[in-house]
Symmetry: C2
Subunit: 139 residues, 2 copies
Amino acid sequence: MLSKKTKYAFHALTYLGKQQEKTPVLISEVAEKTKVPKKFLESILLDLKKAGILTSKMGKGGGYYLLKDPEDVKLADVIRMFNGPIALLPCVSLNYYEPCDECVSEETCGLNRIMIEVRDETLKIVANKSLKDILLAEK
Amino acid sequence: MLSKKTKYAFHALTYLGKQQEKTPVLISEVAEKTKVPKKFLESILLDLKKAGILTSKMGKGGGYYLLKDPEDVKLADVIRMFNGPIALLPCVSLNYYEPCDECVSEETCGLNRIMIEVRDETLKIVANKSLKDILLAEK
DNA sequence: ATTTATTCTACCGATTTAATAGATTATAGC
DNA sequence: GCTATAATCTATTAAATCGGTAGAATAAAT
């Protein structure tokens, strides 16, 4: 399951994505409207900024706003950033690969093969769908 | 990601499934061969017994052995039992459904729709593949 | 009765997740 | 340059989950 942090990130992105003007929105406004604890949201927005998805302005009139085109914010990016691997086993993860310490060999591991299938089918969706798709569905 | 407990369950099932005779196998043997901590394995095997997948005999000559046909032990059953929901959000889970407390409405939630897709694609695989498939792949 | 092996009850430590508090730094406007 | 504003940084805490352990109780075979 996705962590709360991941869901919060999606909610915040959706809220900012819905904004007409690309003018800064206060953290506290995002927090209120998305019902995400403000202090927790702060760190999430900061991570999204570091990832180049959002940007911000400090001081009066400041706040956060979307930097990337919603189409370029793939669900997979957000999930990986806040939730970790998309694969169900470390030994089939593309971005967080680790061998399974219990497994003798990946070639002969029956679970491995199937989990590669699951990973690929999941990726087909989350690596192609983007914030844009979420926004369209919400309209 | 799947928890260690879930992986351990698969390893134990695979080991028991490979057995020719349906004769009881000691917990300690399974523990040794699959490299799963014995005490931890105990509770896993017990759960699998309660689910009707394995059965056991107590006392001398006792141990665990497969009860169900490997074809009838779907990956989804094992994952749900030890790892919880297969869906990535509680609001799209078939077996563990819960409304998202932050969400206003599931109809208008853009994430909801996409996560239903992911769930269905994942289920297509794990609800159809079984222990039998793992055993065939390991041969 | 003794040995063997599962079953049951309870607990523990480490890690992760979720959230909070307070000080600091950057910016706008007067 | 002062003040108000708002993001940023550092640190701590509370709660939940995960992985694992210990020991007593129960059941069965010989």
